[in-house]
C-alpha cells in the first residue's frame, strides 16, 4: 500500500464510523418498532437524506474494501501487480454496483 491508498483507506474508515453507527441504530429502531417493509419504504422513498446517507456509505465501502482486498491479494495470492489491481478495481465496481442498486431500490419513489 502506498501513501495515497493509505490516506484513502483511513479517510473512508473515518467516514464510515459515524455512518455505521447510524446504520446500526436504524436497524435497531426498525426491528424494535416492528416496522414493516412498507413502513420502511414509506420513509425512504423520495428521501434526499437517505439517498445521500447510503450513497456516501456505499461509495466509502467500495473504496475501503477494495484497498483492503488489494493488500490481502498482495500478501496471500500469487497474482502479479497488474492483475491484482485490475481485480480489485473490478471488485470495487461490483460493490458499488450492488450497493447503489440497493439504494436506488429503496429511495426511488
Amino acid at each position: 500500500m502506498n501513501v495515497r491508498l493509505y490516506i484513502w483507506q483511513r479517510a473512508t474508515a473515518a467516514l464510515m464510523v459515524p455512518l455505521l453507527l447510524v446504520h446500526i441504530a436504524v436497524i435497531f429502531y426498525a426491528t424494535r418498532k416492528g416496522l414493516s417493509a412498507s413502513d420502511i419504504l414509506a420513509r425512504t422513498r423520495g428521501s434526499v437524506s437517505w439517498t445521500l446517507f447510503y450513497g456516501v456509505f456505499v461509495a466509502a465501502v467500495s473504496v475501503h474494501a477494495s484497498i483492503g482486498l488489494r493488500t490481502v491479494l498482495t500478501e496471500w495470492s500469487p497474482l502479479g501487480q497488474r492483475t491484482r489491481d485490475i481485480a480489485v478495481v473490478l471488485f470495487g465496481l461490483l460493490l458499488a454496483l450492488l450497493g447503489f442498486r440497493a439504494v436506488v431500490a429503496v429511495v426511488l419513489p
Binding site: V3, E75, Q81
Partner: protein, 240 residues
C-alpha cells in the same frame, strides 16, 4: 547442570534438513557456544556467522526454538525445551549454507529506504549544536541503537508475506534520519518509504518490538513515518 543436550542444527542451503548432535551441557552456556562446540568437535564444515560474541556486532542472529535471537546473548538454560534445542538460520532471508543467512536483501532494503546519512553541511562548516532534549533528537535517540542484526526482519509477518516490504530495520533507520536535523535527504527518504512496500504495508503486529534484543520499537518508528509521509503527501511534497 550436567548431562547431554540434543541439538538440531539446519544443514544445507534452502533445501536442507535438521541434523541432531549431542552436546555436553555446561553451567553457563550460550547458544553460540553450542554451535561453536559442534563445529569444533563434531563437524568442522558447519557454517555460521559471528564476530564480537558480546551483543555488539549483530552478526550471530539465528532462529532458536522457533524464535529469532542473538545466539551470543541467549543462555541455553533460558531457551532449552525438554533437553532439546533447534537452531536454524534467520527466516525471511535466503540461506547461504547451514546457519548463515544471506543478509543482502536486508541491507539492499536499507539502501532503498534511503538509510544513508545525507549531509547538509561541509567539513568546513562549524559543528552543528544539537540539543539532546529537542523533540526530534529524542525521537531519533529512541531508535538509533539498532545494530542491524536482522532479528526484527526475520520475525516480521509482513516481510514473510510481501517480498517488496522494506522491513522494520530499514524503516526504523529512515525514521532516525528523518529526525536528524543535520540530514538533507528527507524529501527523497519520505518518497522512498511512501511507495508500495514502504511503511504503509506495516500491519503493526509489533513482532519487531517483541523480538528486538535491544528492546527498540520499530513499530513506533513506522507509525511516525506513516504520519510524516501522509502530511508530506497532503502538502504535495511527495508523490507515491
Amino acid at each position: 547442570m550436567a548431562g547431554m543436550l540434543t541439538v538440531s542444527l539446519w544443514r544445507g542451503g534452502t533445501e536442507g534438513r535438521y541434523v541432531d548432535y549431542d552436546v555436553p551441557m555446561r553451567e553457563t552456556q550460550t547458544v553460540l557456544d553450542i554451535v561453536t562446540w559442534v563445529q569444533r568437535n563434531c563437524d568442522a564444515t558447519l557454517s555460521y556467522r559471528f564476530a564480537c560474541r558480546v551483543g555488539m556486532c549483530g552478526s550471530c542472529a539465528m532462529t532458536v526454538n522457533g524464535r529469532p535471537r542473538w545466539t551470543c546473548r541467549t543462555h541455553v538454560s533460558k531457551v532449552v525445551s525438554r533437553g532439546r534445542l533447534t537452531i536454524g538460520p534467520l527466516e525471511n532471508l535466503p540461506v547461504i549454507k547451514d546457519l548463515a543467512a544471506d543478509m543482502r536483501p536486508f541491507f539492499e532494503k536499507w539502501q532503498q529506504a534511503k538509510g544513508r546519512f545525507a549531509p547538509s553541511k561541509t567539513r568546513s562548516d562549524p559543528i552543528e549544536r544539537i540539543a539532546p532534549d529537542s523533540a526530534a533528537r529524542v525521537a531519533a535517540d529512541a531508535a538509533i541503537e539498532c545494530i542491524n542484526c536482522g532479528v526484527c526482519y526475520s520475525a516480521c509477518d509482513t516481510v514473510r508475506w510481501n517480498g517488496d516490504y522494506l522491513g522494520p530495520a530499514a524503516l526504523n533507520r529512515a525514521w532516525t534520519l528523518l529526525n536528524d536535523v543535520r540530514d538533507a535527504g528527507n524529501v527523497e527518504r519520505l518518497a522512498a518509504v511512501a511507495t508500495d512496500g514502504g511503511c504503509h504495508a506495516c500491519h503493526s503486529h509489533q513482532s519487531c518490538q517483541e523480538h528486538c534484543p535491544l528492546a527498540l520499537n520499530p513499530t513506533a518508528s513506522i507509525a511516525g513515518l506513516k504520519r510524516r509521509t501522509a502530511q508530506a503527501y497532503l502538502r504535495g511534497e511527495i508523490k507515491p
